[in-house]
Amino acid sequence: MAMMRYILQRLLYGLILMLGVVVLNFFLIHAAPGDAAEVIAGEMGGTTEEMMAQIRAHYGLDQSIMVQLWIYLKQIAMGDLGTSYHFNRPVTELILQRLGPTVMLALSAQLIAMLLGVVLGVLSSRRPQGILSGFVSVFSTVGYAAPVFWTGLMLVILFAVWIPLFPVEGYVSARFRGTGLAYALNVAWHLVLPATTLGILFLAQYARLSRTAMIEVLGADYIRTARAKGLGEGKVTFNHALRNAVLPILTIAGLQFGNLISGALLVETVFNWPGMGRLAFDSVLRRDYPTLLGVLFFASAFVVLANLLTDLSYRFADPRIRTGGR
């Protein structure tokens, strides 16, 4: 019952946060110079003042900003995120088309980063001065420092042009017409390079964090006790040490979700991955307010949800939190 009340309370806070995100961003994007009518005029190759006025009237851009905000809030209260100025299609439809690819990319990258990062971190923590530990340190630093678009381009040149193992761009091959498993495999083939690119960025952080946490935990008294009891090194490392070192990793996993979405933006652009990041980026440039606000609405919902899941996973991973420290 307490758990349910806790979840509902967090969801309520989340809703207030999302409303704040929408209102704040509404004012921010309207504060930027120019509007959608100028972008449309530019894309049309020029236009007349009359047409500009028509466009502004059609999209309600001729109303005061407070009236526009009120209309928008009423719309989203009814579950309608509006119509894209650029695509002239419902924003919800555009976002739902891109939701799957972005979630797939973000989760795959998170999985790659967490699994490989933790394994590398744990292995290197066992011999902090060893070769593997040195490699993990150098790789982590380079992986974290390298701009994600550079990493992406390097991987494309290496694994798509020089050694053509993977495609240069896209979600599914342009010529591909299969369905079912063949389709899934084609998508997975396209996912490898973008997920690896995004994963490398976060892998570095997980590796460094788990290495540091493990080194600290491995020096604790209860580890010495476990070893003194005659437990094997594997059991000591994975059953005793890792479970205690995992809390900071989970914390970072939750906090990183927002970063993961913003990292996905660049990766989606480099790999032409049809996700929400690219949609958001293009919407900013086009002053496509409804689409941008819709993407931010969804993104903030994700972050709220990811943080809630992180909190819940603490309770699962650490009984002290579940019982309130008793």
Binding site: V39, E43, M44, T48, M51, V156, E169, G170, R175, R278
Partner: protein
């Protein structure tokens, strides 16, 4: 056949000349063509939207009355013949009788009339059908276009993306054209029909089996892949994931030119006429003085820009009309690097050097997102103008609306700009120099340039149907603006088409890929 005043009746010989005869053994049927583009269309209806992004799919979906080849010669398309009246005030189009829209409905003169009047009312190029008063439809296959004055650009305006024939039964339902739902799911009578449109990602077009030209198109499918990152466009072409594309970046042009199996060519952009220039705000001091603008022109080394900054892939552009156009005046005033003359002009204009050697400071805008085309020109100009005592502050805009807003409102001194000629000066040139077109919208006469003599020359050239006389009028116009320099024309943008070299009959007319690709085929299995 050039675009001159004439009375012309198309014959079957024209059809043969355009390769509309029987399919030879070499012209293989089938296959997919993947085109990669960095341009993202708002929708797929060129009747209410200009630009390459809409024009490429739009011309596959919609047929137009006429089409044009690489020599600017006109050919029949939906109109099997046409006749311009002796007084130049009407044009009769005789339509083919077997054309159908993709939904099976016949294409009639009613559709032609509806389309032309829709374009006139909604297309950004208002001059294109400006003189059209009405379109009469005496029978299902005859459309007579009535004009208020002779209109030399009319025939070209009936080609390619400029005049898609829309199905009246779909669009004439009272909804606004620019936001009509059918713009995203268009039905035309072109060689390919829309199979799937994933906005911002991919457009899939399938062969239309009932296309009115027998045996066409050869390809089964055209897939237009929208790739926003310029590097990925290049790599897609290099790796063979895409078969055709358009590029402007000089590095990419050099790289792909050296790639086996690709044909890289600047051909196919003669119609667009993409010109890069430095625009001056002629309403603000000191740029309101012609001598200052001329001094800036004399301070620039165009050869250095073309050969070093553009790596030799861009061509020179010395005037307002693209140099490949028959209306370009090669004798118009031009400016070669001459720092002494530049300094003298600035002294004469009353701008002596100060103690620090500076005469005055100017700001210069750059177009966001066009870095690959503009290259290092702004930085180069900055250092060159410092040589003659002009300091330049570069003012970057974070995005297109910011830049467009500054130019439209006159909040600028100088700006890099890229403007297209669009085939005929009436369509793409007049708008920059007519004083009646000084308006607060982008790509109008944002320079604020006004010269009654230029207005008069352009107005006369806009209705002169005798080719030589019209050319003479444009010649005078170029002489005047060449001297007064409301803008300084730098280069033709290095647009290049890239094709897999196994593609037969690649689209290299003046409209390039912005014209129906029913004649394109694979010479061997891909």
């Amino acid at each position: 056949m050039r675009l001159t005043r004439r009375t012309f009746v198309g014959t079957s010989a024209s059809l043969m000349a355009l390769g509309l005869g029987p399919v030879s053994a070499q012209e293989r049927r089938g296959g997919q063509l993947v085109i990669v583009t960095g341009e993202n269309p708002r929708h797929l209806n060129p009747a209410v939207q200009s630009g390459v992004a809409t024009a490429i799919p739009g011309t596959q979906i919609f047929a137009s009355p006429l089409r044009v080849d690489e020599n600017w010669d006109l050919h029949p398309y939906l109109a099997e013949s046409w006749a311009l009246a002796e007084d130049g005030l009407s044009l009769t189009l005789n339509l083919v009788s077997n054309a159908k829209f993709h939904d099976g409905m016949p294409v009639t003169s009613e559709d032609v009339a509806f389309s032309i009047m829709t374009i006139k009312a909604n297309h950004p190029f208002q001059t294109m059908f400006g003189p059209v008063e009405s379109v009469e439809t005496p029978d299902a296959t005859t459309a007579i276009i009535r004009l208020s004055q002779p209109h030399p650009a009319l025939l070209l305006a009936l080609t390619g993306a400029l005049c898609p024939i829309l199905p009246k039964h779909v669009y004439d339902d009272g909804q606004e054209m620019p936001t009509h739902p059918a713009n995203n799911a268009p039905i035309g009578s072109g060689p390919f029909k829309l199979a799937e449109y994933r906005p911002g990602e991919q457009i899939t077009l399938q062969r239309f089996d009932e296309f009115f030209i027998e045996g066409r198109p050869y390809l089964d499918e055209i897939i237009i892949r929208i790739v926003r990152d310029a590097s990925s466009v290049t790599l897609s072409l290099e790796s063979g994931e895409a078969d055709a594309g358009m590029i402007t970046d000089s590095t990419a042009i050099s790289r792909l030119s050296a790639t086996d199996g690709l044909m890289v060519t600047p051909r196919g952009f003669e119609g667009i006429g993409p010109i890069q220039w430095l625009a001056f705000n002629t309403r603000v001091a000191p740029l309101d003085d012609m001598r200052v603008r001329q001094a800036i022109a004399y301070a620039m080394d165009r050869d250095f820009i073309l050969n070093a900054l553009m790596r030799g892939v861009a061509s020179s552009q010395k005037g307002p009309i693209i140099e490949s156009s028959p209306f370009f005046n090669p004798d118009m005033p031009s400016y070669n690097l001459d720092l002494d003359r530049a300094n003298a002009l600035l002294d004469e204009a009353g701008h002596p050097r100060g103690a620090d050697g500076t005469r005055f400071t100017l700001t210069m805008e750059t177009i966001p997102g066009r870095d690959s085309a503009t290259g290092n020109i702004p930085e180069y100009l900055r250092s060159q103008l410092r040589e003659v005592g002009i300091e330049v502050e570069l003012r970057a805009s974070p995005d297109f609306p910011t830049w467009a807003g500054r130019l439209a409102s006159g909040d600028f001194m100088m700006s890099m700009d890229i403007v297209f000629n669009w085939g005929d000066p009436v369509i793409g040139v007049h708008r920059t120099y007519l004083s009646t077109n000084i308006r607060p919208v982008i790509w109008s006469n944002t320079q604020g340039y006004a010269n009654p003599e230029v207005d008069d020359l352009l107005e006369r050239a806009g209705r002169e149907t005798n080719f030589e006389e019209r050319k003479a009028l444009y010649g005078q116009f170029q002489d005047i603006v060449g001297e007064e320099l409301p803008v300084y024309w730098i280069n033709a943008l290095p647009y290049h088409n890239v094709f897999d070299d196994r593609i037969g009959n690649p689209p290299l007319t003046i409209w390039g890929m912005m014209q129906a690709m029913d004649q394109v085929y694979w010479t061997e299995d891909r």
